[in-house]
Each structure stands twice: as structure tokens, then as C-alpha cells.
Symmetry: C2
């Protein structure tokens, strides 16, 4: 029996024999708007587990470490256990979603340069946007850590933007989570998948990400399958 450490909206985290390693199981649940919209979508867990594994491997190839160790089944992977820094680090290349609403910029407008935003990872507070001063006040991270997060996020953006670009996909924006390992090293964690990225087909502008679910734009699994295939899916990792 796997011992459950935490059940989130999209994943379950289990203990393993090694105290520095946890097992992540990707669920078929889709949620949006801070959990207000919900559905079970068969195949989603498998697709996100596969996609996030391929992306973490790609980052590794480019010298960017993450918590990822290996995929061990259709819906499971082993990762290094970290203490999550309670910030969602968002990188944006093109205006969309809350950025468009906040600034009154039409969706699809290319930004002059990538924007890094920090949101407090706190469902009760509705994951609010926070500034550096806010982060320091609540001690979610130190000034030095904020700089590291921003730098790593931009570095990851450079790698992933050109990677997706080669696959005919515009990486519009994405959300990262980081954590600290036992030695206090800051490591990329959580997932990078169509649940946490906006991915638009460069030719058709078709949305190939969770907005398909948020905005009822068609079949989520078809969209995620498209991403998986372009990433070279089926060669199991």
C-alpha cells in the first residue's frame, strides 16, 4: 500500500522507501477557476505524466535540473522530494488570460519582452498576484531567492520557447513551481504540461492546453494528444 502524503487537484503524492523521493500520480481530474469547474477526463493523467516527463528530460538535456527522476508507469513518476516554495512563477511571452484582463491588452499580442509574475500559491486567497515586497513581507521567499526564481524561470522560458517553436507551437505562457531539496538547493518541481502552459498552434492559433477545458473549446484529450505527439510521444520514456 502506497502511503498518500498529499492529494491535490491534479496529482497525488505518495511516500516511497527513500525519504528523499516521492511518487507522483497524475489524476484524470480537470479543474479550473480555483476548483469551481471540475470534470473527470479519462486519459488526462496519462497524457500529463508523459508530457511532463518528456519536458523535464528535454530541460535536463539543456542543463536545467528539476525534481524529475523517472516515469515508472502510465500515470506515475518518481521525483525528488522538495519543500515547495509557495509561489506560482508565471512566465508570459504573449498576452492572454488574466494578463489581458488586468492590463486591457488583447489576447495574442506579443509582449515586448517576457514577463515574470509571482502568484501566492494559496487556494483560500485565490492565488493572488504578489509583488516582491509582498513576498518579503509574508516571508514566502527571500530577495535572493526571488532573483533565483526569476532567473531560472527566464532560462526555462528560453529553452522551452524555442523547443515548442520547432514543433510549430507558440508557448504563450506557463506556470512553474520550485522547491528546496534537503540541501536547500532550489529545484524546478511540480509539472510542466498543457495544464500549466498555454500552447497555441502557430499555423491555426488553435489552443492545445487547458483553455480547451476552461472555455469549452472541444476535446481536451485530443488537444493534449496533439502536444504529446509533436513532442515525439509513443517512444516511451
Amino acid at each position: 500500500m502506497k502511503e498518500l502524503l498529499y492529494e491535490g487537484k491534479a496529482k497525488r503524492i505518495y511516500k516511497t522507501e527513500d525519504p528523499d523521493i516521492v511518487l507522483v500520480e497524475y489524476k484524470d481530474s480537470a479543474t479550473a477557476f480555483n476548483g469551481q469547474k471540475k470534470a473527470e477526463i479519462t486519459g488526462k493523467g496519462r497524457l500529463n505524466n508523459e508530457i511532463t516527463s518528456l519536458i523535464f528530460l528535454k530541460l535536463k538535456e539543456k542543463g536545467i535540473d528539476s525534481h524529475f527522476i523517472k516515469r515508472i508507469s502510465e500515470t506515475e513518476q518518481l521525483v525528488k522530494k522538495v519543500t515547495i516554495i509557495p509561489l506560482e512563477v508565471v512566465v508570459r511571452n504573449t498576452a492572454a488570460g488574466t494578463l489581458s484582463k488586468r492590463l486591457g491588452i488583447e489576447e495574442g499580442r506579443q509582449l515586448s519582452s517576457p514577463i515574470v509574475e509571482f502568484y501566492l500559491k494559496d487556494d483560500r486567497l485565490g492565488d493572488p498576484l504578489v509583488t516582491e515586497s509582498h513576498i518579503l513581507e509574508i516571508k514566502a521567499a527571500t530577495a535572493e531567492e526571488i532573483n533565483i526564481l526569476r532567473e531560472k524561470a527566464l532560462q526555462i522560458n528560453t529553452v522551452l520557447s524555442s523547443f515548442f517553436d520547432e514543433l510549430g507551437i507558440n508557448l504563450v505562457d506557463f506556470k512553474l513551481e520550485f522547491g528546496k531539496d534537503r540541501e536547500g538547493q532550489i529545484l524546478l518541481a511540480d509539472e510542466i504540461s498543457p495544464d500549466t502552459c498555454r500552447l497555441w498552434d502557430k499555423q491555426t492559433n488553435e489552443k492545445l492546453d487547458k483553455d480547451v477545458f476552461r472555455r469549452d473549446l472541444g476535446s481536451l484529450t485530443e488537444a493534449y494528444e496533439t502536444i504529446f505527439k509533436r513532442l515525439g510521444g509513443h517512444q516511451h520514456v
Copy 2:
């Protein structure tokens, strides 16, 4: 006949013979929640005109320039015309209002150090919180200007906090607007009044500001009169 240049929620701006000077008339209107809550409160215009004049004079004494030239009637003052930078610069010393909601900090908690926030001055967008990257993206201000605004805001906070402290009042937070004069110099503008500050009696914690109106806590004019008197009101400026 005065020629109206702009009518806002709390003030009217009129042309004068001098193209570099405008006349500000303080209205009796009280509004809150981006104009959703409204009332006419006799005496409010006079009180805010008096209070803001006293505060701008106090700042001047301490070497901080503003647009303020002189009070010319109960509800009117002359100010230097500026092009307003479309940012509301908020300084906070104690948690309250939207900061408390955003970060889940109880109202009244002293902050470790003053926090400066920028909100986009845009009623259609609901005056959203913006980060430095957002400001740069929409070109509301340059990086250099943002630094000047932050520095000036903190300097004003130092003067006003100790000034109010001597009057038995805790300056919880306040909102500033800045503009550029004909020479491109950045100047403190708009108003500093109980409409734009949170002012709590140090002894009783009584709110002596617009929260009295926002939260239906009693007579707004009584609260504003208290502030006016403590500032040494009745000696007309």
C-alpha cells in the same frame, strides 16, 4: 465662466488664464468600490480642500514639492497643471484593506517595512495592482520613473508618518498620484486627504478616513473634522 477640463469622482479641474495652472474644485461627492457606492456629503469638499492644502504646505516645509500653489476659496485651490502618470502609488505601513485580503494578514498588523504598490489608474480595468514589468509593458512609466516614484513615495511617507504620529494618528496607508510638468519634472499631484489615506486614532483605533463611508461606521464629516482640527485647522491657509 470657468472652463471645465475634467470632472472626476471627487474633484473638478478648470482652466485658468495661465496655461500652466489649473483650478481644482473639491466636490461633496463620496464614492467607493470604483464608483459602485455613492453619496453627497455636505462639507466634504471644503474639508478635503482644507486638509490637502495643509498637508501639501507641510510637505513643502520639509522640502517636498507638489503641484500645490494656494487655496483660494472654501472648496477651491490653484495647482500647477501636470500630465498625470496613470499610476496610483500606494504606501502602506500597517496591513489593511486590499493588502489584508490579498495576503491574508489581519488588519492592523504593522508591516516589517513600508510597502510601495502601484495600481493602474484605470476605472474600466478596476485599478488593478501592477508589477514593474506590467508598467513597462504598457509604457505607463519607464524603469527610471518607477524608481523616482518609489523613492518619492517613501520620502513622503517618512514625513507624513511622523507628522501624523505627533497628532496622535497612525498613518496606515495612503495613495499618491504624480504628474509631469511642462519641463518633464515629476511632481506630487492630486490630493492627500482622508479620502486617500487610512488614518487611525492611536489611542482608540477609531477610523478617521473614507473607511467610515466605505464601511458605514458613522459620520464622515465628523471624522474628517477631527483630522482637520488636529492638523491645526481653522487657521485658514
